[in-house]
Symmetry: C2
Subunit: 118 residues, 2 copies
């Protein structure tokens, strides 16, 4: 089931950013990248599949960690160049062990680990 390019606009590198959100609490868990194949696999398999820019390979969330993401819904934005995936997260979404990848590094208003230089 091909996705038409006028619906989903992949970047020059063939990738589109995908926001992953816990479907019931609204917590934003992570941002990862999909190419066309990863998006089609995500829809076909009902589990998130991403393209790893660092490893240059597909990566089905949870295959090694067990921390799967079952897809509840998937939307594209008004411009077709960002994806929002609502999921049921099993365990920690972040490879560091935190529930969300955005849990620990606040830049503002209370700079911690991600503090800003004076």
């Amino acid at each position: 089931m091909p996705i038409t390019s006028n619906q989903v606009r992949f970047g020059k590198d063939g990738l589109i950013p995908a926001i992953v959100q816990q479907h019931d609490t609204g917590e934003v868990l992570m941002l990862a990248w999909m190419d066309r194949t990863a998006l089609e696999r995500t829809i076909a398999e009902g589990r998130t599949v991403f393209w790893s820019r660092s490893r240059q390979e597909y990566w089905r969330k949870g295959d090694t960690s067990g921390h799967t993401q079952a897809v509840k819904s998937l939307s594209i934005d008004c411009d077709g160049d960002a994806i929002l995936v609502r999921v049921e997260q099993v365990g920690a979404a972040c490879h560091t062990g935190t529930h969300s990848c955005f849990d620990t590094r606040e830049l503002w208003p209370t700079p911690g680990e991600g503090s800003i230089d004076e």
Copy 2:
């Protein structure tokens, strides 16, 4: 107040994706892009400032529409290559008039405007 590059990792194009979320409801409103200046301005001014890739200019949300975003908190993810901004949104976040840019184009499970070809 410069932001050190080992904290925030901008892409090759100098940009980082910023997820904008309504701080109290958890609704994901939009995804936009920041360069270093836009991020520093966002923190300094307490309102979201983005870099428009299509117009190639800075864009302080609400300056033309009145639909401002007051920043409540700002975090970077574990890898430092994505930003989550929690805001108080005034009016519609989306230029199409919908509250969220992700409101209308569901690809799955109930394909509508963003339907997938057979």
